[in-house]
C-alpha cells in the first residue's frame, strides 16, 4: 500500500480527463477544483505515511521505495503544486491559454515527479523522469501566441531529450558492467568496478545536472524561464527542483557510495561554477525572470554543496533538503509576484517595472522584500538558516575553504537582490503608472502573503521545518 498517492493521482487524472471532456466551457472551473482536491488528498495520504522514523519499504519487485527522502520530497512536491496552480489560475484564464489541459498536464508532471522520487531502480527513475519532463515541454509551448514561448519550448525539448539520452547512456553502461537495475544491488556490485563505472557515473550525472539546471548544463534555464508564461516558470522552478534533488541524492548516495571520491569532486566543480556563473550573470540581467533564472542556478550550486558534504558530515543531506525546500518556497513567491504584477494584459517582467512598487502597493513590495532578502540569505529570513545548515555541514566535512567561497559568492549575489529592493523602495514610480493601482485578487493576496510571511516566520522559528527536512543517513 506504499504507492497510494501515485495510484490515486493516476486514477484521478483519468477521471478528470473524462469529466473535463463533457464539461461545458463555463464550468471548467470544476476541473480546477477537482485537481486541487486531488493534490490535497495526495498530500494527506503522503503525510499519513510520514513517520519520521527511517522505515524503508521496497515494493513492486524492487522498483519502488518508500523512505524519508521520498515522503518528504512528495510532501513538498504536492504542496508546491497546489501553490503553483493557485497562482496560475487567474493568469491563464486572462490569457485564454487552454485552461483545463494546463492543469492536467501539470498533474501528469507531478505524477512523474512522485514516481521519480520513489524510484528504486534505474528503470523507474527513467520512466518517472520522462513523465515529469514531457508535460513540462507542452506546458511551455502552450502559450502559443508568444514567440519566446515557442522558442523556449523547442530549446527545452531538444536539450531535454539530449540530457535524457545521456542519462540513458550512463544507465546502460552501469547496467552493462553490473547487470543490475535496482539501486542497492548496483551499489553493491559497483564496489569492485572502477574506471568504467566512473564513465557511467559521469553520464548519469550529466543527465541529472541538466534537469537540475546547474553549470555546465544550464543554458536552457534562462531562456525557458524567460520565455515560458510566468506561472509555468513558477511551476518549472518549484516542484521539479525538489524531485531532481531527491533523485540525484538517491542515485549518488544509494547506488554509488563506492564512487564517492569521484562524485564529490565532480559536484564540487559543478557547485563552484554554478554559484560563480549564476550569481555573476544575474547581475547583468534587466529582465527579472531571467535574473531569477540565473539566481536559481546559483541556488542549485548551494544545494549541491550539501550533497557533497553529506558523506562526511552528520547533516549535510538534511541541510540540502532544507535548502532546496526553502529556496523553492521563496522562488515560487518571487515568480508569483511577477504573475500578480503581469495580470493586466502586459508582461511586467522588466526590472524597471518594479520601480517605486512601494508607493503603488506597499504590502506587495514588502512581501517581495522578504522574499528577496531570504534569497540573499540575510537573517532573520529563512534563507539564512538554510545557508547556515550547509555551512555547518561543510565545516564539519573539513571544507572550510569551500564555505568561505560559498559566502563570497553569496555577497556577490546579494547585490542583484538588493538592486530590486532599491528599485522598489528608493525610486518613485514612472509617471505613466504612478496612478495605476496594482490590483490583487483576494485569493492571490492570501497565497502570496502566506508565502512571504512564511519566509520570515520559518526564519524566526525554523526548528519545526528543519526537523521535517531531516533525512536519516543513507
Amino acid at each position: 500500500m506504499s504507492a497510494v498517492p501515485e495510484i490515486f493521482i493516476l486514477c484521478m487524472v483519468c477521471i478528470i480527463l473524462g469529466v473535463d471532456a463533457f464539461l461545458p466551457r463555463r464550468l471548467s472551473v470544476i476541473t480546477y477544483y477537482l485537481i486541487q482536491a486531488t493534490l490535497a488528498a495526495a498530500l494527506v495520504f503522503t503525510s499519513l505515511q510520514f513517520s519520521g522514523a527511517a522505515t524503508l519499504t521496497v515494493s513492486f519487485s524492487g522498483h519502488y521505495v518508500l523512505d524519508d527522502l521520498a515522503v518528504i520530497s512528495k510532501i513538498f512536491i504536492y504542496l508546491f503544486g497546489i501553490f503553483a496552480f493557485i497562482y496560475a489560475r487567474e493568469y491563464i484564464e486572462a490569457r485564454k491559454i487552454a485552461i483545463s489541459e494546463y492543469y492536467l498536464l501539470g498533474l501528469f508532471s507531478i505524477l512523474g515527479m512522485s514516481i521519480m522520487v520513489s524510484a528504486y531502480s534505474f528503470l523507474s527513475i527513467y520512466l518517472g523522469l520522462e513523465l515529469l519532463s514531457l508535460p513540462l515541454y507542452a506546458m511551455v509551448a502552450m502559450n502559443k501566441d508568444s514567440e519566446h514561448a515557442t522558442e523556449a519550448a523547442m530549446k527545452y525539448f531538444i536539450l531535454g531529450a539530449l540530457a535524457s539520452g545521456m542519462l540513458l547512456y550512463g544507465i546502460s553502461i552501469i547496467y552493462g558492467i553490473t547487470g543490475e537495475l535496482e539501486l542497492t544491488k548496483v551499489g553493491a556490485a559497483l564496489s569492485t568496478f572502477n574506471l568504467v563505472a566512473v564513465m557511467g557515473l559521469i553520464f548519469v550525472m550529466a543527465g541529472l545536472i541538466f534537469k537540475f539546471g546547474a553549470v555546465p548544463f544550464h543554458m536552457w534555464v534562462p531562456d525557458v524561464y524567460q520565455g515560458a508564461a510566468t506561472p509555468t516558470t513558477l511551476f518549472i522552478a518549484s516542484a521539479p527542483k525538489v524531485a531532481a534533488f531527491a533523485i540525484t541524492l538517491r542515485i549518488l548516495a544509494q547506488a554509488m557510495p563506492s564512487l564517492q571520491v569521484y562524485w564529490i569532486q565532480i559536484l564540487m566543480v559543478i557547485a563552484i561554477l554554478s554559484m560563480f556563473f549564476g550569481n555573476l550573470l544575474a547581475i547583468a540581467q534587466n529582465n527579472i525572470k531571467r535574473m531569477f533564472a540565473y539566481s536559481s542556478i546559483a541556488h542549485i550550486g548551494y544545494t549541491l554543496l550539501g550533497i557533497l558534504a553529506g558523506p562526511n558530515s552528520t547533516q549535510g543531506y538534511s541541510a540540502a533538503m532544507f535548502y532546496i525546500a526553502t529556496y523553492v518556497l521563496v522562488a515560487a513567491g518571487g515568480f508569483a509576484i511577477i504573475t500578480i504584477m503581469s495580470r493586466q494584459g502586459v508582461e511586467l517582467d522588466k526590472l524597471d517595472d518594479y520601480r517605486g512598487l512601494n508607493a503603488r502597493n506597499p504590502w506587495l513590495a514588502f512581501m517581495m522584500l522578504l522574499l528577496l532578502f531570504s534569497m540573499a540569505g540575510v537573517p532573520p529570513m529563512v534563507g539564512f538558516f538554510a545557508k547556515l545548515g550547509l555551512l555547518e555541514a561543510l565545516v564539519q566535512a573539513k571544507l572550510v575553504w569551500l564555505a568561505v567561497l560559498a559566502l563570497i559568492f553569496a555577497i556577490i549575489g546579494s547585490y542583484y537582490y538588493l538592486r530590486v529592493v532599491m528599485l522598489m523602495y528608493f525610486e518613485e514610480p514612472d509617471e505613466s503608472v504612478a496612478q495605476v493601482p496594482v490590483v490583487v485578487s483576494s485569493s492571490m493576496m492570501a497565497a502570496i502573503s502566506l508565502n512571504g510571511v512564511a519566509a520570515l516566520l520559518i526564519g524566526l522559528l525554523p526548528s519545526f521545518f528543519i526537523d521535517i527536512c531531516r533525512i536519516s543517513a543513507m
Binding site: V378, F384, E392, L418, F426
Partner: protein, 518 residues
C-alpha cells in the same frame, strides 16, 4: 524577582511589535498615529531600562537577567539573553538614542512616516538584541538583521546619492560579517555549542587563533570602522537622514568595539597579543590620518563622519593597548584603565557625535535644498542663538574639553598609552590638536561671522521639541563628563573580568590572579 522577568525580551521585541502596529496605520492620513505610537513605545522602552538598571548587581561579573530557551534544535542554537556591565550601559544608551531619534523624526520626516518610524523601531530592537545575545547565532541574526532597516532608511529617506551609499553600506558590512559566520561555525564545531561563553578559553593553536582573529577583525573593523575599511561610513553618514546618521554614529559604530570585547579578545587572546601592534597602528592611523582628512571636508556631515572614525580609533586603541601594557608593566591595573577608557569613549562619542549629527540635520532641514555644505552657511549664531549655544557644547565635547563627555575617555586612553610607548601616546595626543582644528573651524565658519545669505537670515531658532532633544543630550554630555561614577561603577567588575579572560596564558602568568579593581 526582577532577575526572572523577561525584561530583555521585552526590550527587544516591544519595538518590533510596535513597528508592525505602526505599519498597520497605513498611509500618510494617519501619520500622527504613527508618530504617537512610536514615541509611546520608545518612552516605555526607556522606562523599562530603570528596573533594568536598578535590578542589576554591579558586583557580579557573570551575565544577569538571563533567559535561556532552546531555539533551533538541529543547530544547537539557543535563545539565550543576558547582560553584563558593558551590555547594560549600551542597552540604556540604545534606548535613550532611540527615543531621541523618534522624537526628532516627528518633526523632520514628512513622507512615509509610518515606514520610517517602523524602520527605526525595528533597528532599535535589533541593536538591543546584539548587546544582549549570549548565543553566537542569535548575535549574528540581530547583527545582520539590523542591516535591513538601516539599508532601507538610508535608501528611502536619504539625500541625492542615497542608492549608492546604501548599497555600499550593505555590501561592506555584509562582506565583513560573513567571514565571522564561518569563524563562529568553526568554533561551534570545536565546542558543540553556540553559546559565546563556551568559546572562551578554548585551547586553540596560535595558527587557528590568528585565522579566527582575522575573520572577526574584518567583521568588527568594518563596523567600527577602522582605517582601510572605513570608506563606507562617510558615504552612509552623508546620505542617511539625520536619524539614520545618529543611530549609525551613536550605536552601530559601538557594535564593532563591543564585538572586539565580546569575541576577539576573550576567544583569541594569543592572536590578539601577537597582532596588538597591528591594531595599535591602525588605530593611530585612524586618529591622525582620518583627523587630517576631516579638516579639509566641506560637507558638515562628512566632517563629523570622519571625526567619528578618528574618535573610534581611541576606543580600539584602548582595547588593544592592554596587551602591551601588561607585558611592559606586569600589572593589570594600568591595562584596566585603558580598557575602561575605551568603553567610556564609546559612550561619550555616542552623545557628542549623535548630537552633532542631529544638529546638522536640523540646519539642513531649514535650508531650502537641504544643503550640508559649510560654505552655504555663516552667521547662524545671529539667527539661532539657542541652537548655537547647544551646538557649541557638543562641539566642545567632540574636541575633548575637560568637563564634557569627550574628555574622560580620551584622557584615560592617552594616560595609559604612556605605559606602552612614549610615541604611541604622543601620536594619540595629536588628536587634541586635530579635533580642535576641524571642529572649531567648522563651528566658526558656520555659526560666526556675518550672516551668509538670505536663507540663513530667515532661519528660526529651535522649536520646543528640538529643544527637549538637545537638553537631554546636553545632560548626557555633562553627566559623562562631570560625574561618570555611576557608569564606572557598573562597568568596573565586568571590565576587570573581560580583561582577565583576554590575557593569554603566558601574560596572565606574570600577574596576580586575585585583583581588586578600584
Amino acid at each position: 524577582m526582577l532577575q526572572h522577568f523577561p525584561l530583555l525580551t521585552l526590550l527587544i521585541w516591544l519595538p518590533v511589535i510596535g513597528a508592525f502596529l505602526i505599519l498597520c496605520t497605513g498611509n500618510e492620513k494617519n501619520a500622527n498615529w504613527a508618530r504617537g505610537i512610536a514615541v509611546f513605545i520608545t518612552v516605555v522602552c526607556l522606562l523599562l531600562c530603570i528596573p533594568l538598571y536598578l535590578g542589576f548587581d554591579p558586583t557580579r561579573y557573570d551575565m544577569q537577567f538571563m533567559e535561556d530557551h532552546l531555539w533551533v534544535r538541529a543547530y544547537e542554537t539557543r535563545y539565550a539573553l543576558g547582560i553584563d556591565g558593558i551590555s547594560l550601559v549600551m542597552v540604556i544608551l540604545t534606548n535613550f538614542t532611540g527615543l531621541l531619534v523618534i522624537v526628532a523624526a516627528c518633526q523632520s520626516i514628512k513622507i512615509r512616516v509610518s515606514q520610517y518610524m517602523a524602520a527605526f523601531l525595528i533597528l532599535q530592537g535589533m541593536i538591543v538584541g546584539v548587546f544582549c545575545a549570549m548565543d553566537a547565532i542569535l548575535f549574528y541574526v540581530f547583527w545582520e538583521g539590523m542591516l535591513i532597516p538601516m539599508y532601507l532608511s538610508i535608501g528611502i529617506w536619504g539625500s541625492a546619492n542615497r542608492s549608492y551609499a546604501s548599497i555600499k553600506f550593505f555590501l561592506f558590512t555584509f562582506l565583513g560579517s560573513i567571514l565571522m559566520l564561518v569563524a563562529l561555525i568553526y568554533l561551534y564545531n570545536q565546542t558543540g555549542s553556540f553559546l559565546i561563553q563556551n568559546f572562551y578559553g578554548l585551547p586553540l593553536s596560535l595558527h587557528t587563533q590568528t585565522w579566527l582573529f582575522l575573520a572577526f577583525l574584518l567583521a568588527f573593523a568594518v563596523k567600527v570602522p577602522m582605517f582601510p575599511v572605513h570608506t563606507w561610513l562617510p558615504d552612509a553618514h552623508t546620505e542617511a537622514p539625520a536619524g539614520g546618521s545618529v543611530v549609525l554614529a551613536a550605536l552601530m559604530l559601538k557594535l564593532g568595539v563591543y564585538g572586539f570585547l565580546r569575541f576577539s579578545m576573550p576567544i583569541t587572546p594569543l592572536a590578539c597579543a601577537k597582532l596588538a601592534w597591528l591594531m595599535i597602528v591602525l588605530s593611530l592611523i585612524a586618529i591622525v590620518y582620518i583627523g587630517l582628512i576631516a579638516i579639509v571636508q566641506r560637507d558638515m556631515k562628512k566632517l563629523i563622519a570622519y571625526s567619528s572614525i578618528a574618535h573610534m580609533g581611541f576606543a580600539t586603541l584602548g582595547c588593544f593597548m592592554v596587551y602591551d601594557i601588561v607585558s611592559h608593566m606586569h600589572s593589570l591595573q594600568d591595562a584596566y584603565m585603558s580598557l575602561e577608557g575605551a568603553v567610556i569613549q564609546m559612550v561619550a562619542h555616542a552623545f557628542g557625535s549623535g548630537a552633532m549629527f542631529l544638529g546638522v540635520g536640523l540646519l539642513a532641514e531649514r535650508y531650502y535644498n537641504h544643503s550640508r555644505m559649510i560654505q552655504d552657511y555663516g552667521g547662524v549664531a545671529h539667527t539661532m542663538p539657542i541652537f548655537a549655544a547647544f551646538f557649541m557644547l557638543f562641539a566642545m565635547s567632540n574636541v575633548g574639553l575637560p568637563g564634557t563627555a569627550g574628555f574622560v575617555g580620551e584622557f584615560m586612553v592617552i594616560m595609559s598609552a604612556f605605559q606602552t610607548h612614549f610615541w604611541v601616546a604622543m601620536i594619540a595626543s595629536l588628536t587634541l590638536l586635530l579635533s580642535a582644528s576641524y571642529t572649531l573651524w567648522m563651528y566658526k565658519r558656520v555659526f560666526f561671522g556675518p550672516i551668509g545669505n538670505d536663507q540663513v537670515a530667515a532661519f528660526r531658532d529651535v522649536t520646543w521639541l528640538e529643544k527637549t532633544n538637545y537638553i537631554l543630550l546636553a545632560i548626557g554630555v555633562f553627566f559623562v563628563g562631570l560625574y561618570p561614577q555611576p557608569i564606572i561603577d557598573v562597568l568596573r567588575v565586568t571590565i576587570g573580568h573581560i580583561l582577565l579572560q583576554s590575557m593569554p596564558p603566558d601574560l596572565a602568568f606574570n600577574v596576580p590572579t586575585t585583583l581588586y579593581f578600584a
